[in-house]
């Protein structure tokens, strides 16, 4: 269940990392740590294989950018818990692996599909993302537009995750 607040309408942020195609999300914390939910431990191993200083440099609201089929593999939840705790507010990729997409959409993470994004931005670029319309303004003023999430997915993200939306729709009135 998500314990994270919904993102702002406009995510004004910085590109924290750019991954390539078929990125296996387990690699964010390493296979040895994919069953851990200990926040301190996940922080200590988050992205160390790519950039040991990542969690100290990342800022709240930063985004991750990916290539095609982001999240390919057997997407466990802890790597995204680690990235969320580090401040990542959204992932924008060329496309998402279905299992990862469903699992993290359930958790309320905006996963936005924009073709060409991995070429249009670079590490540490200051960008603005309108996640509802899948519109990203790049550091040099260009605008790229992807496929907006459907209304149900928007409702999930606005609710802070599928479980929160389900509670709003089906929990007994007394609760």
């Amino acid at each position: 269940m998500s314990t994270y607040p919904p993102p702002p309408d406009l995510i004004e942020s910085r590109v924290a990392w750019v991954f390539g195609d078929d990125f296996d999300i387990d690699l964010v914390v390493g296979v040895a740590n994919i069953k851990s939910y200990d926040a301190d431990h996940l922080r200590s191993v988050c992205m160390t294989a790519f950039d040991p200083g990542f969690v100290d440099r990342v800022r709240p609201g930063d985004i991750i950018v990916g290539g095609r089929n982001f999240g390919y593999g057997h997407p466990h939840y802890p790597p995204m818990v680690a990235l969320r705790n580090a401040g990542i507010a959204a992932i924008v990729a060329e496309s998402f692996s279905p299992g990862f997409w469903r699992g993290e959409t359930f958790n309320g993470m905006p996963l936005i599909t924009i073709e060409g994004v991995s070429e249009a931005v670079a590490l540490h670029d200051e960008i603005t993302l309108d996640w509802r319309t899948a519109t990203l303004d790049t550091a040099d003023g260009a605008r790229i537009v992807g496929t907006p999430p459907n209304p149900r997915t928007v409702a999930i993200i606005e609710a802070g995750g599928s479980y929160q939306l389900l509670l709003a729709e089906h929990a007994p009135a007394s609760q």
């Binding site: 078929d22 089929n69 359930f106 599928s162 509670l167 929990a171």
Partner: protein, 418 residues
């Protein structure tokens, strides 16, 4: 414009009675299945009761739970996990099957994989029911939406059609086919889609091979896979189904995202190197010949059925597993186990030096006799990611039962003699 099998099956389950690829609908599964696993079913049951106040299910017959994981250590933790499951299933009146085999296979044997039906599970390998012209979709934690509301919102998927022709050559089966398809279309070649199989080659495939193929659909990015119905699958369904059913055929003018023809007779044995099932990891057996292995595994929801065991016995009959190799065979269900025993298959495998384990998921996810660091295993399991079958420092190669059996004999990856 005509409809695909997936559009027709899902369309039946919507309030509107119709669905088209690209639309988002609330769909109503005929069955909502799970296996018990700590942090999943135990939590979901508690959420239903405590967060949603559900003390009685509107239609308990739509819920099915299997106890097929964590069966072999016989420790306190196992006992507690399963007792929680039994208690909750009794509380809600949910059908529960324990220690009868892997749930994805039992779904078929128990007559739950009915042609034209839509089934959900949190595990993606439920797509194996596509062999019976049912549509199985692994929806991960969204299963709680189905369990609470009786429906699940999905984007209706587009379909890629595979027209199969020809027959498998000797020593080649559905594992070689699925890895060939991944190589052909890519690890996201059918992303967010359904794979639809038909044609004379599809009709020539044994049910077991169809199940194995459909169960691996996720490795092309597909959300499910489904076969056109034919006399073979309908005969199976008529024997086990608990009610009347209506099989679903695609329209002649169905709209597909892509269409491919594959001649099964041209396939060669494939092995997937450790790491993932992605395209770059797929090799021919010939390319990897000589790679040493110390462990071999034949089983799983993809490849432990009677045809798979027959294939292994064909290779191992009168031969011996190398003394440096441990070969474990896990029939996919108790029923498969008993049939293999009756056919004498298990005796052949035992005589060759294989160990036959009870039907469960435990070898496949590293719970039973986990791999040790630096071991090489050749497996018919469903995943070869690091740590899947034990140590993250072990290596898992994946291949067909023919290839695994042949490799077990020599202690190196190799092709079954054809």
């Amino acid at each position: 414009m005509g409809l695909t099998i997936a559009e027709k099956i899902l369309g039946r389950t919507t309030d509107q009675g119709a669905a088209r690829a690209g639309e988002n609908h609330a769909v109503r599964p005929a069955r909502m299945i799970a296996y018990d696993f700590p942090g999943y079913t135990d939590v979901m049951f508690r959420q239903m009761r405590e967060d949603f106040g559900i003390t009685e299910l509107a239609d308990p017959s739509r819920y099915v739970v299997f106890i097929d994981h964590m069966l072999t250590r016989n420790d306190q933790r196992e006992a507690e996990v399963h007792q929680v499951t039994r208690d909750w299933c009794e509380f809600y009146g949910i059908e529960l099957h324990e220690a009868q085999g892997i749930g994805h296979q039992l779904t078929a044997e128990l007559g739950l994989a009915i042609p034209g039906d839509f089934l959900v599970h949190f595990d993606g390998h439920i797509s194996g029911v596509g062999a019976f012209n049912a549509l199985g979709w692994g929806i991960r934690r969204d299963l709680i939406e189905a369990w609470v509301s009786g429906q699940i919102h999905v984007d209706i998927p587009a379909t890629t059609r595979f027209d199969l022709v020809g027959d498998f050559p000797e020593g080649v089966d559905s594992r070689d086919l699925v890895h060939t398809i991944i190589e052909m279309v890519g690890a996201d070649g059918c992303a967010h889609q359904v794979m639809e199989f038909g044609g004379p080659g599809a009709r020539s495939m044994a049910i077991d091979h169809r199940q194995g193929l459909c169960g691996m659909a996720m490795f092309t990015g597909a959300v499910s896979a489904v076969f056109e119905p034919d006399e073979v699958s309908m005969a199976y369904a008529r024997e086990v189904a608990r009610r009347d059913f209506e099989p679903v055929y695609p329209d002649d003018d169905a709209v597909y995202a892509a269409r491919h023809t594959i001649d099964l007779s041209t396939l060669v044995p494939r092995v997937v190197r450790p790491g993932s099932a992605r395209v770059a990891n797929t090799s021919t057996v010939e390319e990897l010949a000589g790679t040493p292995v110390t462990r071999a595994f034949i089983g799983s929801c993809a490849s432990g059925r009677i045809e798979d065991l027959r294939a292994a016995a064909l290779v191992l009959d009168g031969r011996k597993v190398a003394p440096t190799v441990e070969l474990n065979v896990v029939p996919t269900s108790k029923k498969v186990y008993e049939q293999a025993e009756q056919e004498g298959i298990l005796d052949v495998l035992r005589a060759a030096g294989a160990t036959i384990a009870v039907s469960s998921c435990d070898f496949c996810f590293g719970y039973q006799q986990p791999l040790q660091p630096d071991e090489n295993c050749i497996s018919t399991g469903v995943l070869n990611i690091s740590g899947r079958m034990g140590s993250p420092d072990a290596n898992i190669y994946m291949g067909s039962p023919y290839t695994v059996a042949a490799s077990a004999i020599t202690g190196t990856i190799g092709e079954a003699a054809r």
